[in-house]
């Protein structure tokens, strides 16, 4: 019993000691417990240096948390356990959050840097007049392939069905992406809700099973980097980041069409430090900051002024800044409603269970 007490006291002492040390460290870097900002963003979606810079410039301490799907993010915001001040959902999710009254309207007069954003990315159907969201990044979904392993050129979704790619394709673990690809490969819209078309798409995807090596999450970056598979279905930013590291990778937006998406910054109703949220959004809109962030993250920036500051070979690259002609073939995800989303997911689950 005495020993137990001694152990207990020792643990408490260490715990309080550490707590004091953390507090001391924070205080010495000019941060107080009161002024914190909680940012909720996708994994690996910001240059961490910029967070440090923001903290230095404003004295606001940033708590940075990440999510790996829009739905997971929304679930946590709905529950309201954590005081997220800024979040970065995609377009269809912004629409859904707006409908459910989870967002604060944004006062444009408090964001002077908003003028640098390209008109093309403002006032889109998912958020007319940008009342609730401010553009952060945009991009596409496409095929990343290893030119050492893939001898023929890949231009379309339908190329993936070639028998030579047996057991060599990695897919991303997302129902909209995968079912959407099935629909696109048949020439249907990726927002299709026609039951016959959906069943056709599922049946077509089943025939792709022998070629699929695995259906994974963010690990796809590491796996593609280590040459684990010849082909990966990825978001454009993942592709550009990897192509920057490795010369033998190539990215293509399939000719049948694909997904065009936007990730925007919002202030969810869980926000406590709205003042800080505005400073953060404005900071991220600064052309120089946006340029640095874009070069780090690899997605496409909606910031016109930032593009001028960036190297020409990035900005002129049509794979990541597609031409108007190409953009016409791309579609934005629509919010299909919970029933349809559940149906998409059930089809996806059945597809996953389809064995080789």
């Amino acid at each position: 019993m005495k020993k137990l007490m001694q152990a207990l006291i020792a643990v408490l002492l260490v715990a309080f000691g550490l707590l004091y040390a953390v507090d001391h460290l924070n205080a010495s870097s000019g941060q107080t417990a009161g002024n914190t900002l909680t940012v909720y963003n996708w994994g690996d979606y910001i240059d961490a240096e910029l967070i440090d810079r923001f903290e230095e410039e404003t004295g606001i301490k940033v708590i940075y948390e990440t999510f790996d799907s829009n739905e997971a993010m929304m679930t946590k915001i709905e529950q309201g356990g954590t005081t997220y001040d800024v979040a970065v959902p995609s377009e269809y999710m912004i629409e859904k959050m707006r409908e459910q009254d989870l967002l604060y309207p944004i006062d444009h007069s408090r964001l002077p840097n908003l003028m640098y954003i390209d008109e093309r990315f403002m006032d889109l159907p998912f958020d007319p007049g940008n009342r609730y969201s401010i553009p952060y990044f945009w991009g596409t979904v496409g095929i990343l392939y290893n030119t050492d392993k893939v001898k023929s050129e890949i231009t379309a979704w339908n190329d993936l069905w070639k028998p030579e790619f047996r057991n060599d394709i990695l897919m991303i673990d997302g129902a909209r992406e995968v079912i959407g690809m099935g629909l696109n490969s048949l020439g249907y819209s990726l927002n299709d809700t026609n039951e016959k078309h959906l069943q056709e798409a599922k049946a077509k995807l089943d025939t792709l099973t022998p070629n699929i090596k695995a259906i994974v999450g963010d690990e796809i970056r590491m796996l593609m980097e280590n040459d684990e598979a010849a082909i990966g279905l990825v978001w454009s930013g993942t592709a550009s980041e990897l192509m920057w590291k490795k010369d033998n990778l190539e990215y293509v937006v399939p000719e049948e069409g694909s997904n065009l998406w936007f990730d925007n910054m919002v202030i969810p109703k869980t926000a406590k430090n709205i003042e800080a949220a505005y400073s953060f959004i404005n900071f991220m809109l600064d052309p120089e900051v946006a340029a640095q962030n874009t070069e780090y993250v690899g997605y496409s920036t909606p910031n016109k002024k930032a593009l001028e500051l960036m190297p020409e070979d990035i900005v002129k690259d049509e794979r990541f800044y597609p031409s108007a002609d190409m953009t016409a073939r791309l579609e934005v995800y629509e919010n299909l409603g919970p029933e349809m989303l559940a149906h998409y997911n059930e089809l996806f689950l059945k597809f996953k269970m389809h064995r080789k």
Binding site: A175, A214, I215, V216, M222, L341, A342, E346, L349
Partner: protein, 267 residues
């Protein structure tokens, strides 16, 4: 006075059980009766008895069985060896040590080891068998799961074996029983409580593994755990997710009854 004291000691326990065990369970059952729009329904239960979820339940069961089976085959001899070793405590510590490392970290390590150009394949290459796909197969899934769960199987078996009175074994051998007869009639029956505890500790969590199915099996193995994760996080169909959880709990209760109440020596 003493009676008062006793009730006082019960308070933390009762509060804990009520708040963190009973209340969540009731909530799960409650949610399982609602559809996407919050209307009361039995449809989730009907939905569970469709081929999709039944196959999923069967496959969860099958993989959990495989994992438990291999754990047991490896753990029993290992525990036996440890109890008869001079360095009991050290060996036991070595077995427990890996369980202090975060599960995801271990999974990521195996992603590297089993990858096409990883350590496992270079070994196969040098031995002359040649590289093959290890990652994203049933083998890798079961292997990594067994690796993760094995301490939970070894510990209870070790405890049971350690408590076994060696005089009983000597007596059995003296009376002419062979090694196998001694094992089957004396050692194993007397340590079956440890085996049962180990089986429970492995089988039940193995039923609802979900991160492993994506990281190590590349979603080529789909268990009920995967489906629950998807319903709660992606489709937000909490009703269906809760329904699957209810069935998982039922399966677990059945497991507890089957492995728990058998009388001693029946085997």
């Amino acid at each position: 006075m003493q009676a008062n004291n006793r009730t006082f000691y019960w308070i933390p326990y009762v509060l804990w059980i009520a708040l963190f065990v009973v209340a969540p369970l009731l909530l799960i059952v409650y949610y399982s009766f609602f559809d996407l729009n919050g209307n009361f329904t039995f449809a989730n239960y009907q939905n569970f008895f469709t081929p999709v979820y039944l196959t999923m339940a069967l496959s969860s069961f099958w993989y959990a069985f495989l994992i438990t089976f291999f754990c047991l085959i490896i753990a029993y001899p290992a525990a036996y060896f440890i109890t008869h070793s001079k360095y009991k405590q050290l060996l036991l510590l070595l077995i427990i040590l890996p369980s202090w490392v975060n599960l995801l970290l271990k999974a990521y390590a195996f992603l590297g080891i089993f990858s096409t150009y990883g350590a496992a394949n270079s070994l196969l290459e040098t031995v002359g068998i040649g590289a093959r796909q290890i990652l994203f197969t049933d083998f890798s899934f079961v292997f990594v799961s067994v690796y993760i769960f094995i301490p939970f199987m070894i510990l209870p078996i070790f405890n049971a074996l350690d408590k076994l009175n060696p005089a009983l074994i000597y007596a059995s051998r003296d009376l002419g029983a062979s090694f196998w007869a001694t094992f089957l009639k004396v050692i194993f029956p007397l340590t079956s409580s440890g085996v049962k505890a180990g089986v429970q500790a492995v089988f039940i969590p193995a039923l609802s593994l979900f991160m492993m199915t994506r990281l190590i099996a590349g979603n080529r193995v789909i268990t009920l755990g995967t489906a629950i994760e998807q319903h709660f996080l992606v489709t937000q169909d909490w009703g269906m997710g809760a329904t699957i959880a209810v069935f998982l709990i039922l399966i677990m209760i059945v497991m507890m009854i089957v492995t728990g109440t058998r009388k001693k020596g029946v085997l």
